[in-house]
């Protein structure tokens, strides 16, 4: 069969094992194309996602520009930034959110909440903090920002939904709200701070570390185009919230099941090393919480012994590759925090990706030292209060377009009812919000 015939008959090449996947995503012949990510080359309305949401985002650049912009953004996850985020933001915010949501017991005497909502609120604040949004101590603004989440996700991920007209209507409205009510006020506040620096009234070091600081200071020339700054903010927003929420909810789901089946390990419920292993297992099995990422072959190439032609769409099946028994053992598809670390790979496999586009948030999740991450500390706090899935209510998952790569347990939780078996309500209101210097 001629190569062209292969492409015509099967325009998608699936990459679902670790060696091929790593070689593919690191290849200079493979691009992270916004048009392919959004399926714009086959869906008439896919260009709405490209033109309004993702084109120009740092993750949809390649080569030297991507290296330059990624290096700049690494500033946001340096050790001192991670410490600040964890100690001064994540931990006090968790305390405040728990005390608000668990103030009253239900009639059966149990303390309940929706873990998705709890994590949403925490990570909305984290995303806002990383971007540099202002006025986020106000619960009204926190809820306004949270209300925008589904629309922004829809704009970026419309290709995974059937009713795209409705998704795009909601997405464009959400983007307008994000820009007018959050992005522009933050931009203006940072501009004013830089004006104060010019006037000698403050130093640049006093300006809070954030994406907005990089944008307003034109730390990279691309930020001359304000739309690029908005799209980078959308990317931080989506990843800080969407992926984070799913990672912690899945981690509670997996770890609670493990404790049920291995009660001898319950003594480790607040052990950071154990919980880090649990987080890494969840990441290995389920990240990036969709079945595949999309890349584009720029040139004719060979992947795993098979010919791929220029322009062919590549589906990078990370969860499937991370379940390879040849790499992770016979029980590779199961959650096992005591799994041996495979030679040459981290415990999370390629769950954070590989190559230039590997996840910027890895160091937030796992910490600078690999076992003090903000997400894991969040889990430690939940397990210290005896979090378990609510036996009286089943979680709801998002209905998305199905594809042949789908893996049954890689789902998006829309809610996840939990019970806290070891919670004592606080009598004094906790002050846990984190105030930026603006």
């Amino acid at each position: 069969m001629a190569l062209d015939d292969t492409v015509a008959g099967c325009p998608v090449h699936r990459v679902g094992n670790i060696p091929d996947l790593i070689a593919t995503v690191r290849s200079p012949d493979v691009r992270n194309s916004p048009e392919y990510f959004a399926a714009a080359h086959k869906l008439d309305d896919g260009y709405i996602t490209v033109d309004e949401f993702v084109a120009g985002m740092w993750t949809f650049t390649d080569g030297p520009e991507h290296r330059r912009r990624r290096k700049l953004l690494n500033q946001l996850v340096r050790p001192e930034a991670l410490d600040d985020m964890r100690e001064n933001f994540i931990l006090p915010t968790i305390e405040r959110l728990l005390s608000e949501r668990l103030a009253e017991a239900y009639p059966d005497g149990r303390y309940r909440c929706d873990l998705v909502e709890l994590a949403d609120l925490l990570f909305v604040n984290l995303g806002a903090n990383m971007i540099g949004f202002i006025g986020m101590d106000d619960p009204v603004r926190q809820n306004e920002l949270r209300a925008i989440i589904p629309g922004i996700f829809g704009g970026v991920l419309a290709q995974f939904f059937d009713d795209r007209d409705a998704v795009f209507r909601m997405a464009l409205e959400a983007k307008r709200d994000l820009v007018e009510r959050f992005y522009k006020p933050a931009r203006d506040a940072y501009r004013e701070m830089y004006a104060k620096v010019e006037r000698g009234e403050m130093t640049e070091a006093d300006i809070p570390r954030s994406l907005m600081k990089l944008i307003v200071s034109r730390a990279d020339p691309v930020y001359e185009d304000e739309e690029i700054g908005i799209r980078d903010a959308i990317l931080v927003f989506n990843t800080a919230i969407g992926t984070s929420v799913q990672s912690v909810v899945h981690m509670v789901h997996d770890t609670a099941k493990w404790f049920q089946e291995h009660p001898e390990d319950r003594r480790l419920a607040t052990d950071m090393d154990f919980l880090t292993r649990c987080m890494q297992e969840t990441i290995r099995l389920k990240a990036p919480f969709i079945s595949f990422l999309v890349r584009r072959a720029e040139h004719d190439m060979v992947i795993g012994g098979e010919r791929v032609s220029a322009g062919q769409e590549l589906h990078i099946e990370i969860p499937r590759a991370n379940r390879d028994p040849a790499v992770f053992g016979a029980d590779a598809a199961e959650f096992n925090p005591w799994r041996e670390q495979p030679e040459g790979l981290p415990r999370y496999g390629i769950g954070f990706g590989s190559g230039p586009h590997a996840c910027l948030g890895l160091r937030v999740v796992l910490g600078n030292d690999g076992h003090s991450g903000s997400h894991v500390r969040f889990m430690q706090k939940l397990f210290s209060h005896g979090v378990v899935p609510d036996p009286a209510a089943a979680p709801q998952v998002l209905a998305m377009s199905q594809d042949e790569s789908a893996i049954d347990d890689v789902v998006t939780f829309m809610d996840y009812p939990v019970v806290f078996t070891d919670w004592v309500p606080t009598r004094e209101p906790l002050v846990g919000s984190w105030k930026r210097g603006v």
């Binding site: 290096k71 981290p346 796992l366």
Partner: protein
């Protein structure tokens, strides 16, 4: 061990990194603000990225791709996602010349 002249001292400013070739070995020179010069493998142990394209902060080099950090004096990991150290090499400054033994 082979002693290689890799750079003039003025080529490596305090607080900066420089990629050099030491007998075919890619080396990252790091000159601390205090003036001391160290040499370590230029290839990050996490993925094959040139550390000399990263940033020097104090005595730590930060990989430009994923933010892994290494102590330039010992090669030890000081920040994930790298889990393995990188090689370090003896450095001698003789007058205005920098030599590395590989």
């Amino acid at each position: 061990m082979v002693r290689c002249r890799v750079a003039a001292l003025d080529d490596v400013k305090p607080g900066e990194l420089k990629q050099v070739d030491a007998g075919g070995v890619p080396v990252c020179l790091a000159r601390l603000e205090s003036g001391e010069v160290y040499a370590l493998s230029d290839i990050c142990s996490h993925e094959e990225i040139e550390l000399s394209d990263g940033d020097l902060q104090g005595a730590e080099v930060e990989c430009p791709a994923h933010g892994s950090r290494f102590d330039v004096r010992t090669g030890a990991v000081s920040g994930w996602p790298a889990e393995k150290p990188v090689a370090v090499y003896p450095v001698a400054v003789d007058g205005d010349e920098v030599y590395v033994e590989v």
